[in-house]
């Protein structure tokens, strides 16, 4: 096997003679077994390099997969979403891939589901009644389905009314391909009292 040692790329404080290529491969190996986006910090701890170095490794892997380094463009891409890194199939092969992925992943989000998600995204943690008041319709069924699909999660109860409170999940961000909710374009001008909302913006994400 190739052991392309490149001292210039080693951590100065590394006491092991681990090659740059082995670090890249170790990151790939970890990303193969993760079930959600993994932060550079988590990866850095597992591979035993600095977080700064890990970001450089991840950037290189991303560029490689995209064919930027001269190799062929891969059928997968390494993306930074929901605060972490994860391999995804490349959108141009959606047709070939979709035969193998089931149900929830391909199901479209209805207008009702999207509006409900929008309200909860900006008002979280929030009770269903508050969402219903804004949307003007009962949202119980939609909310329950969204929880089952992992796009919403419960987050305790309203201290006064006892109503269950809901928050959006990292899976929603993944579904939208966003690193954080702040990446939604034109977040602020839409809504009143942006300052008030920001406290609630990312509970437990």
């Amino acid at each position: 096997m190739t052991e392309a040692q490149n001292p210039a790329l080693e951590e100065a404080d590394s006491h092991q003679l681990v090659s740059h290529e082995q670090h890249l491969a170790a990151v790939e190996a970890v990303l193969m077994v993760t079930e959600e986006p993994v932060t550079a910090k988590q990866l850095a701890a597992a591979v035993d390099v600095s977080e700064h170095r890990m970001v450089a490794l991840l950037d290189q892997l991303r560029a490689e997969a995209d064919g930027a380094a001269g190799g062929r463009q891969r059928g997968y891409e390494l993306r930074e979403v929901a605060g972490g890194w994860r391999y995804y199939s490349r959108a141009r092969y959606a047709e070939q891939v979709s035969a193998f992925v089931l149900g929830d992943q391909t199901a479209r989000l209805s207008a009702a589901a999207l509006e409900t998600l929008a309200v909860i995204a900006y008002r979280q943690p929030v009770a269903r009644s508050a969402v219903a008041a804004i949307r003007g319709v009962n949202v119980d069924g939609v909310v329950r389905t969204l929880v089952q699909r992992g796009l919403l999660d419960t987050a305790g109860h309203d201290p006064v009314t006892g109503a269950t409170l809901y928050v959006t999940t990292a899976q929603l961000l993944e579904r939208l391909g966003l690193d954080s909710l702040a990446d939604l374009p034109q977040l602020s001008p839409h809504l009143p009292g942006v300052e008030d909302l920001q406290e609630h913006e990312h509970p437990g994400m």
Partner: protein, 281 residues
């Protein structure tokens, strides 16, 4: 009413737009500051009036300046609307039914529509983001044969009987949570503006005239009061009813001015359309 000069120093004045209202005369931003500091009652500010004034003002500006001022205005107005909404939405603290009645109805309509529109736009953006992302599927780890060895030895203390109880509890919980959970305990309910308008039209048609108090006397909640008030305004737009109020905060008398038949139908249909999906998803 308020010594504006004394306060202007503590408010950030970024807008050149000046408002002239009953009891307030000064920069628009300052208005927000005063309300935020609870030195002025938000429900006393007629935003629709302010908006009309602003539109007149902004037409006098150069395009670039107008854009800046407009976005600032929208921000401040949105903040004001939010404050109003906090007081209007179910579950909030409104002092009394009179508080609601004194609100400019157009403000309320405007506020609700603006808020709903904002969320609709966000939903559209989310839909676009989801569509943009649709062809990508995440790596799923599946089961790695080697992974089992990596896990710490499982500590198992559950008996078959406990497992049965867990299953029963899960299945029972599902049974207890039917599809449409009753909303009463959540302190809100859906109100259909068309139904409210139809029943008020019926009541007014037979009585000739009622006070607002009489029209909402049987209302089960504040939300119904608000919706009925909005419904009345819709009827008023078509001159199906007339209002009479002798003094500010005084009793509001509603008089039927339509005929004996379906004069209210147009207003009811329009209200149904404007307020979108009257209770259905």
């Amino acid at each position: 009413m308020l010594p504006v000069g004394m306060l202007s120093a503590e408010a950030e004045t970024t807008s050149g737009f000046q408002v002239r209202l009953d009891g307030f005369d000064g920069p628009f931003d300052l208005l927000l500051g005063l309300i935020a500091q609870r030195r002025m009652d938000i429900t006393a500010v007629a935003l629709a009036e302010v908006t009309d004034e602003f539109l007149t003002y902004v037409r006098t500006l150069e395009p670039e300046k107008a854009l800046d001022e407009s976005s600032n205005f929208v921000f401040v107005a949105a903040t004001l609307l939010d404050m109003k909404l906090v007081q209007l939405l179910p579950g909030s603290e409104v002092e009394s039914d009179e508080d609601i009645a004194v609100l400019e109805a157009r403000d309320l309509l405007f506020a609700r529509l603006l808020q709903y529109k904002a969320f609709k736009q966000i939903a559209e953006q989310m839909a676009a983001a989801a569509a943009e992302n649709a062809g990508r599927f995440p790596r799923r780890p599946g089961t790695h044969p080697e992974m089992a060895h990596l896990l710490p030895e499982l500590q198992w203390r559950t008996t078959a009987e406990q497992l049965k109880e867990l299953a029963e509890r899960a299945l029972l919980r599902q049974q207890l949570e039917p599809d449409h959970v009753v909303m009463e305990h959540l302190h809100t309910q859906q109100v259909n503006i068309q139904e409210e308008m139809a029943s008020m039209a019926e009541q007014l048609r037979s009585a000739g005239a009622c006070t607002f108090g009489e029209l909402v006397t049987a209302a089960p909640s504040r939300l119904v009061v608000v919706v009925r008030f909005l419904g009345l305004l819709e009827l008023f737009r078509d001159r199906t009813v007339e209002f009479d109020q002798q003094a500010p905060l005084g009793e509001l008398t509603v008089t039927w001015s339509g005929g004996a038949h379906d004069d209210a139908a147009h207003a009811i249909a329009r209200a149904g359309a404007e307020w979108g999906g009257s209770g259905h998803d």
